[in-house]
């Protein structure tokens, strides 16, 4: 009994009218009670000035407010108080796991504090990266959280950046301790006996790409393992799919330089890389160890379960929200932290193993 509807087809209509009653205003409610709006405002907001109002009147007011389902117009209030209790969040992409995790932490704190937030995802398009902050400012957000989004100019609002790496005045940076992350990964691989390590670099647009690469290089030299240029490939496409890692790993394989371990830019690309390695006849981790980055949900349940460097993404989001609200509360003149560092964690699972005898060609 398969149906032959096309996607998005509309199956039914109805036209029962929905009353468009404008919500009741303070003024009307006041008129109804024969009081002034001022009085209602004082009472409903439990202002100290309402102390002179007798309880009986207060009760009448509360009663009427409930009866007419009065709720104050947030817009009018915002206009008067110049407070919107709203912040803007810029992310590159919503569906890639990374931003969603950070956002989740951001939201956790913001909603708890009575703030709401606008999300805008710019998909790395520079015109949008320029435009969205303006639009957000027009809407009078009180601050901006920028996730993996470069900040050019000194902002007119408090800005907290997650995984940004520019040193811009007015911006608080929440960053991972990248030196430590690289040390953990390279150190662990070296401890397993790996000396030929392939690296997947991030896309140019990702703000972690450059630091990650620098810290890997310095960790490598610290552990005295050379990084062969042919064993480095860069992720290319702007896609939240493992495809990018697959392609990059193929490139490294094509170069023909043997290696026993691969350190991917993130878990998603690690998963793609594993597929490429497997298709080339290598098994992971027996022939080649793979280590990812981030520890997204999928990492633990991939097959093999991914060894990875965990970034506390949720916590980073929450810290971002906390610092932003603190800056908003303290006012623009107050000092604020320029950098807040969070620590990575090595999560050992099944995609890494001791290095085996190096073989140029797969066993097949």
């Amino acid at each position: 009994m398969a149906m032959s509807r096309r996607d998005g087809e509309i199956t039914n209509r109805r036209s029962k009218a929905q009353k468009a009653e404008r919500p009741i205003s303070l003024k009307k409610l006041a008129a109804h009670l024969g009081l002034s709006p001022t009085t209602l405002s004082l009472v409903l907001n439990e202002s100290p000035l309402a102390s002179a109002i007798p309880q009986e009147t207060k009760d009448r007011i509360f009663e009427a407010a409930r009866e007419f389902n009065y709720s104050p117009n947030f817009i009018a209030r915002s206009l008067r108080s110049a407070r919107t209790y709203t912040v803007g969040v810029l992310v590159p992409e919503l569906s890639d796991g990374y931003s969603a995790m950070v956002l989740s932490g951001v939201e956790d704190h913001l909603l708890k504090e009575g703030y709401f937030y606008f999300v805008a995802s710019h998909r790395h398009r520079s015109n949008l990266i320029e435009r969205y902050p303006q639009l957000l400012m027009e809407r009078r957000v009180e601050g901006i959280i920028a996730v993996d989004t470069p900040q050019r100019h000194r902002p007119l609002l408090p800005v907290v950046s997650v995984s940004g790496h520019e040193d811009v005045e007015g911006v608080t940076n929440i960053v991972l301790n990248h030196e430590r992350a690289a040390e953990l990964a390279i150190g662990y691989l070296v401890s397993l006996g790996h000396r030929q390590i392939a690296i997947l670099k991030g896309q140019d647009f990702s703000s972690d790409t450059e630091v990650r690469w620098q810290t890997i290089r310095s960790a490598a030299s610290q552990f005295e393992v050379p990084i062969h240029p042919a064993l480095v490939a860069q992720l290319e496409a702007d896609s939240p799919s493992p495809e990018t890692g697959y392609v990059a790993a193929l490139k490294i394989l094509a170069a023909g330089v043997p290696f026993t371990a691969l350190f991917a830019f993130n878990d998603i690309s690690a998963i793609g890389a594993i597929r490429a390695l497997r298709e080339a006849g290598y098994s992971v981790p027996e022939d080649i160890s793979v280590i990812g980055f981030d520890d997204v949900h999928a990492a633990a349940f991939h097959n093999p379960a991914l060894t990875t460097i965990r970034q506390p993404l949720f916590q980073m989001g929450r810290l971002a929200a906390e610092h932003l609200l603190k800056r908003i509360a303290n006012g623009p003149q107050a000092p604020y932290p320029e950098i807040v560092v969070v620590e990575p964690e090595l999560v050992i699972r099944q995609s890494t193993a001791p290095a085996r005898q190096l073989s140029t060609s797969p066993k097949k």
Copy 2:
């Protein structure tokens, strides 16, 4: 050179003052130009009434607006026009992939049309499910999109629900053709020779759970394959991790009733189930075929790549936004669709194979 900073530690402060210049208002700009706010408003909004204003004056106005970086106060505008160009989006959870995909589609359309949106994730807590819509209404959103979130009462605003299944007046439902989805999955398994099919039911809080189960039962009876009660398990924990599927699959295995295929509630739980099967000594798909649902990014790159029923999540989000904006534009009296149906798609990958001779115990 490992550092010993604790997470969230603050490394630096500075106190360079940020000027708190209130953005310039029309009134002030008008005063500066020796014109009335009205004139500026007409000119800057390119109102037809500005036709009487000579170009020279217009130029002066535009010039000054640029110079003082004037941008209209959205809040004031909203108050006057009773339009906020803002909608609210309710989701259960941001970090689970599903909501993020839908949200991505929602955003795509909304921002294109000049709308922004507030996100609120309720984590299935019923007090939040009640409270957030109220808060959103106080903030004068013009409509609400509810993703996998039950709607109780007839709303005071246009509501579009994605994967909701209540028939509530005032709500437009964007739903998958679930009958077809079940037919595709069960039909495909049957065509591969499977007759003993295990089912992972969704959590009670998921609005798809009930329909999915009903349509699976009816598809099963249509194809004349019985569903053994011991081969049905329900996902329990409220977690976006494959753990839930792992646990449920263990429960089915424990029952000891043999089966050759498993139809999971979603891809995430399918991935967990595969792990459980594998640990029990079965190989997928040789011993047991597994089919997922949704087609999230991870599905294609899991090992084995997941055969699944694709839901067009991004498109569903976009449709939700389109219908909501249409309803907002048409006003509350206008007719609106009650249901919009989208079609699923069977995506065949490597986690399914022809049924093999049934064996009660794993080959090991």
